[in-house]
């Protein structure tokens, strides 16, 4: 892809849409390629804000691992867990083939 300071091209958007698994139409690709540069230009100002000595903040409060006792407790039934599935079979999620070949 292009350099961070060079904005974003239509080919970049095609690549990103592939990574994000969104089958964008030609019109959507054109539209995004035309409006993303202005947004990226705006947000790029953050690069001048901080030097190497400033630590990154991922969460505004301290985050620690949280554990609970390793005991069995009630959870969703298979029926409830599968209730929203587009397709299911024998208490499992039924998905299309995962390999490209037929």
């Amino acid at each position: 892809m292009s350099e961070p300071d060079k904005g974003i091209s239509r080919d970049d958007v095609v690549h990103l849409a592939g990574l994000a698994r969104i089958d964008l139409s030609e019109a959507e690709l054109e539209h995004l390629a035309s409006e993303l540069p202005a947004i990226l230009d705006y947000v790029a100002s953050v690069q001048e804000a901080a030097g190497d000595d400033v630590p990154a903040m991922s969460h505004p409060v301290p985050v620690d691992n949280v554990f609970r006792e390793d005991v069995v407790r009630p959870s969703l039934s298979p029926e409830a867990a599968l209730a929203g599935a587009p397709a299911s079979d024998q208490q499992r999620f039924l998905v299309p083939k995962i390999l490209g070949e037929s």
Binding site: A17, L40, A56, V61, K97
Partner: protein
């Protein structure tokens, strides 16, 4: 007889315990109001009349038997459609979740149900809470009760409009960059984003996990405090939940005394780019606070100029990652690609996400995917995280000198539907005053402070306080609310135009 829809939640709670009316009557009055005005306002995506009335009758029954009930038991409530509600549709305003009925309750929902508040329905929102106008809902926009040609703000325009239009006394919203506070400002209602970690995010469909926070949407500061106290508290199901007692927000709202309080006006959140009527009402409100004994100073936070840029990197980055779960495999719509025989899971995933997501969601996923890409991560997401550190330090320094900070909530009043729909950056700029609180995890409250002279539309003032000092917001806002209502001789919403009721 009193119009029960006009009562505050506190008045309803007191009326219920004094047996002046029943929860079934209050709930029915709100359902009737929804039926009469929501065709126009479109605050609700789903109304659960049967469920709400069943809860109301159960509470009336239990009250009749002398059972000890929660203070807000029997007070109806609306819930933003981003919180999981077992047995009720939860769409997040997206086609990709059309028809999805969660098999579990969000912790906030569970607390509301346990306390016996009838849930009137689910409120409209920008798709996955991405937007500042509620125009990005896949199910059509919500209209502002003050002027139905204008936006109600967003993303929680549905919750704010429902409360402003007297369709519900209480609502729950969520706020990632202002989605509770900005609609509050634009509809003349009260909206609070609590301290990050103050209210459980379990069952809140995540947009940006390090920014999201649920909170109250109400018509008065005391009502907001009552709802805050009900839905807040430590939850083992949310690893970012604060394991400490909830700040004494209700006591603070009842105290309502700013004598000796040190208030800082944030220099960078005002001035240029802020509508004259917004600035005028803000200045009037600050003068009232001064007259009531508050000590007002000006505070500069220079790093705020980087806040919006940091927000529009952190938020899409986290959103692109969170929304990867909508893969058409376990829940949500599955739309196979047209003209492909025996498509693969990846092809089905890509076509489903194309069909299920709207423009703004796609825009943010692509932006976030870019910011997180190898070779770009440090320049974008990494730099944005550093800005959060600098901002947090600057806010900490500011709060060493003052108790609360104030600014206008939104630079403008409600703008016409469609005005900024084709200019995403222009819409993003409207979040300038609200996003800093999310980036640094501090609480914020928006209070209606009057109408702008140029358009007679509501203006909001935002209070900010240090983390875990949510009570300071309620104390200061309740004091200002009382001063304003004394000046107006009533509430601001009493000045809102009457909505035509369809019977």
């Amino acid at each position: 007889m009193t119009d029960l829809t006009r009562l505050t939640a506190d008045e309803i709670a007191r009326g219920l315990s004094a047996r002046e009316f029943t929860s079934a009557e209050v709930t029915q009055a709100n359902l009737d109001r929804i039926a009469a005005v929501d065709g126009d306002i479109h605050a609700f995506l789903h109304v659960d009349a049967d469920g709400a009335l069943a809860t109301a009758r159960d509470i009336d029954d239990r009250r009749g038997k002398g059972e000890q009930l929660s203070y807000l038991a029997g007070v109806p409530i609306a819930v933003k459609d981003v919180l999981a509600t077992e047995g009720l549709p939860t769409t997040c305003g997206s086609k990709i979740l059309e028809g999805w009925i969660p098999p579990y309750d969000a912790t906030v929902t569970a607390k509301i149900k346990a306390a016996g508040l009838p849930i009137l329905g689910k409120t409209n929102m920008d798709e996955f809470a991405m937007g500042s106008s509620t125009e990005h809902s896949a199910y059509g926009p919500t209209r502002n009760p003050w002027d139905r040609t204008r936006i109600p703000g967003g993303s929680g325009g549905g919750s704010a409009a429902a409360v402003a239009a007297f369709e519900a006394p209480l609502a729950v919203g969520t706020d990632t960059g202002g989605s509770i506070r900005q609609p509050g400002a634009l509809t003349g209602t009260v909206g609070v984003k609590p301290t990050y970690g103050g209210i459980s995010r379990y069952g809140l469909v995540a947009m940006a996990s390090s920014l999201d926070q649920a909170g109250p949407v109400t018509r008065t500061v005391l009502d907001a405090a009552l709802l805050h106290e009900l839905i807040a508290g430590h939850d083992p199901m949310d690893s970012t939940s604060i394991p400490e007692p909830v700040p004494a927000v209700v006591a603070a709202a009842r105290r309502a005394d700013v004598k000796g309080l040190k208030i800082g006006i944030v220099t960078e959140l005002g001035g240029d780019g802020f509508q004259p009527g917004v600035r005028a009402r803000f200045d009037d409100a600050v003068e009232l606070l001064t007259s009531a004994g508050a000590e007002v100073v000006e505070v500069s936070i220079p790093s705020l100029k980087y806040a919006l840029g940091a927000y529009y990197l952190v938020m899409p980055s986290e959103a692109s990652s969170n929304l990867a779960k909508f893969d058409a495999m376990r829940y949500g719509v599955r739309v196979p690609p047209a003209g492909v025989d025996d498509p693969s899971a990846e092809q089905v995933m890509s076509s489903s996400r194309d069909a299920g997501f709207g423009d703004e969601v796609k825009r943010r996923i692509i932006l976030g995917t870019y910011a997180l890409s190898s070779g770009y991560y440090d320049a974008y997401y990494g730099s944005a995280q550093k800005v959060r550190t600098i901002l947090a330090r600057d806010f900490a320094a500011a709060f060493a000198d003052v108790d609360v900070l104030v600014s206008p909530t939104s630079p403008t009043t409600a703008y016409p539907l469609g005005e900024k729909l084709d200019d995403p950056l222009a819409m993003y700029l409207g979040d300038v005053a609200t996003i800093p609180a999310n980036l640094v995890g501090i609480p914020g409250l928006s209070l209606p402070v009057g109408l702008a002279d140029e358009d007679d539309l509501p203006v909001g003032l935002q209070f900010l306080a240090p983390q875990k000092a949510d009570d300071r917001l309620y104390n200061a806002a309740a004091a200002l609310e009382r001063l304003l209502e004394e000046k107006w001789g009533g509430t601001l919403l009493a000045k809102a135009p009457q909505l035509e009721e369809v019977r």
